[in-house]
Amino acid sequence: MDGCAIVVAATPRYEICRFKSGQSEKIRQNAVLNNGSPFVVRLGQNEKGSECGKAHVRIVGRAKKDNKDRYMNTQTTTSEYMLLFRGTHWDKSLSPEELQNVMGQWAEWLDRLNQQGKIKSANPLLDEGKIVSWKKSQTVADGPFAESKEAIGGYFLLQKSDLDEALEIAKRCPALKYGVTVEVRPVAEQCPPSVRVKSRRIAHASA
């Protein structure tokens, strides 16, 4: 088998198409051409972890049920969510024992999400940093991180998700009860104005 693509619509629907190794770009273009809608195509991996042969393709984020709605609506649905962890000082007062315990919980939490394929990337951020801004000219100042309780200590970028799921994941953050807050933000799939322009053009063409 050369491979199959599974097309996942926003309302769970699967479409399978075959493709050959190295044709990812073509699949992506075809998906848009065949359906004429702002799909996002993502190629999965085969057992060996490379993008070829038996890979699954999931096309996520078809926005609308029928064509008319699809083109008139300027909003896109996203499948990516950013979780931002705010608070960089909460852990300084934990005891070594508590640190180890919460660390274990955090690792399990992240590990499970990784196994489920929900994590696109995840990183902790260092406290130190700079802020570039404009006063009379460009200025560089030390970040507010050293003092700020609101500074971001790390992030997860979730994929293949929706808002409800992202919120459920955020609620399981093991540091919440120690004062960390989690900000959940959908990642914009396309620049909204460009979507608007595109929709108008298509609407015009079909009129």
Binding site: S24, V40, R42, L43, G44, Q45, G49, S50, E51, R58, D91, K92, S93, L94, S95, P96, E97, E98, L99, Q100, V102, M103, G104, Q105, W106, A107, E108, W109, L110, D111, N114, G117, I119, K120, S121, A122, N123, P124, G153, G154, Q159, K160
Partner: protein
């Protein structure tokens, strides 16, 4: 954009499989080592640096997986932080020059941090810190609190939980103690010559109290209490690792702690109710701990020294080695209590001896022994005295008297599990 996962990421689930108490144990070691670097005047600084190193581990390991040697990672991070700090200190405050010099000496002395020298360095520093925390000029309760903070990596909140007080009170006590160490110029050193033996007794006494704080049922949460016992055993065992502190009485103390702690898992039932020795399921006793305890008891017998720890370890061994309650060697236990009361006039020991007397010579003899303690005018408001009297009267079928004693004991204790136990005993003899 494809959704191939980042395969370079180390599996992180292993973080939760780290050695139990790793952070706590490493914190204790590192505070000792860094106090060696900074000087005991800067105890707080050492604690802060260690905390920062652990926080860095905490923030990064879940994302990138645990390093091959977690303990070495933490040590290296703490040392780097310490050096950075000292370098900065040196720039801004020339007066701190001496510290920086001692750092340079140390870092040039030991070629690498993995050298075997480093291990003995840790052991020496830990012993120095134990001696500093248990200095006779520091009040006993402050000694145990400071030892828990610096040597065992407990937070003020955890210490407060163990001692049934507030976090603020403990934090204040710790600050005052650190200040006192500075003011009194308490040295960071292993005492030399004859002073060593005297000071070692003080250290053993503090560890014994730490253990008892965990062992006694009169306060705190179960979990915290067991932690205290474990930490006391760990510190006492670390003493043995040091050739100077490796004395028969140190072994005796370790033996006594292990043999008592071995029975902790059987001391309460599933609902947390207290079980008496005869009701305990002996299969729940920790065999490995008993075995270790017996080995230390054997090592304690080297030389002609006989401390109170020896006797207590001997009594604990009699209980641990009996197959069941009936086959307990009570006459041997009584002989040990006789010896103990001749060394220590404490009424609490006398009360425990009365239990042994009753087991050997019957409950009436036990009651007689307790009356003798009461007539000394001591323990009049000690709930256990009445609980024991109640048991003896019950054995003599004087149920009304027994019920009265249990009621009195009930009024005198505030611990919930004790009260549940006693009210059951009251009810048993009411009819």
């Amino acid at each position: 954009m494809n959704e191939i996962q980042d395969n370079n990421r180390v599996p992180v689930g292993e973080v939760s499989r780290l050695t139990e108490h790793l952070f706590r144990v490493e914190a204790g070691k590192l505070v000792s080592v860094l106090t060696g670097l900074f000087g005991i005047d800067h105890l707080q600084l050492a604690e802060d640096v260690v905390q920062e190193a652990l926080v860095r581990a905490f923030r990064t390991w879940p994302y990138y997986g645990i390093p091959e040697n977690p303990a070495a990672w933490i040590t290296q991070t703490a040392k780097n932080l310490a050096y950075d700090l000292l370098r900065r200190e040196k720039l801004f405050r020339e007066k701190q020059g001496e510290i920086a010099i001692s750092v340079e000496q140390r870092s040039s002395n030991s070629a690498g941090d993995d050298s075997p020298l480093f291990d003995t360095e840790i052991k020496d520093d830990r012993l120095r810190l134990i001696f500093a925390c248990c200095h006779p000029l520091i009040a006993q309760e402050s000694q145990t609190a400071l030892a828990l903070r610096t040597l065992c990596g407990f937070s003020a909140a955890e210490i407060a939980k163990a001692f049934l007080t507030t976090e603020a009170a403990i934090a204040k006590r710790l600050t005052r103690t650190r200040q006192k160490i500075r003011e009194l110029r308490i040295p960071f050193e292993i005492p030399a010559g004859e002073e060593f033996a005297v000071r070692l007794n003080g250290v053993l006494q503090t560890l014994y109290l730490l253990f008892n704080e965990g062992y006694k049922a009169s306060s705190g949460e179960n979990l915290v209490r067991e932690d205290l016992c474990c930490e006391a055993i760990r510190l006492a065992t670390s003493l043995i690792e040091h050739p100077m502190a490796n004395q028969p009485r140190t072994h005796a103390l370790v033996a006594l702690m292990l043999l008592d702690a071995a029975r902790l898992p059987a001391r309460v039932d599933a609902e947390g109710n207290i079980l008496r020795l005869k009701e305990q399921e002996r299969s729940k006793w920790s065999r490995p701990m008993i075995e270790r305890g017996i080995i230390h008891l054997g090592q304690a017998a080297a030389g002609d020294e006989l401390s109170e720890y020896h006797i207590q370890a001997g009594i604990a061994a009699c209980h641990c080695l009996a197959e069941n309650y009936q086959s307990t060697d009570w006459s041997r236990i009584l002989a040990l209590y006789d010896q103990w009361t001749s060394m220590n006039n404490s009424p609490v020991i006398a009360l425990n001896r009365a239990v042994a007397i009753a087991a050997v010579n019957g409950p009436a003899a036990g009651i007689e022994a307790i009356e003798a303690i009461k007539s000394r005018g001591e323990l009049g408001s000690y709930y256990l005295l009445y609980a024991v009297l109640g048991e003896f009267e019950a054995q003599l079928h004087n149920f009304e008297a027994a019920s009265g004693h249990f009621r009195k004991a009930f009024q005198l204790t505030e611990v919930k599990t004790e009260r549940v136990f006693l009210s059951k005993r009251v009810r048993a003899f009411r009819s």
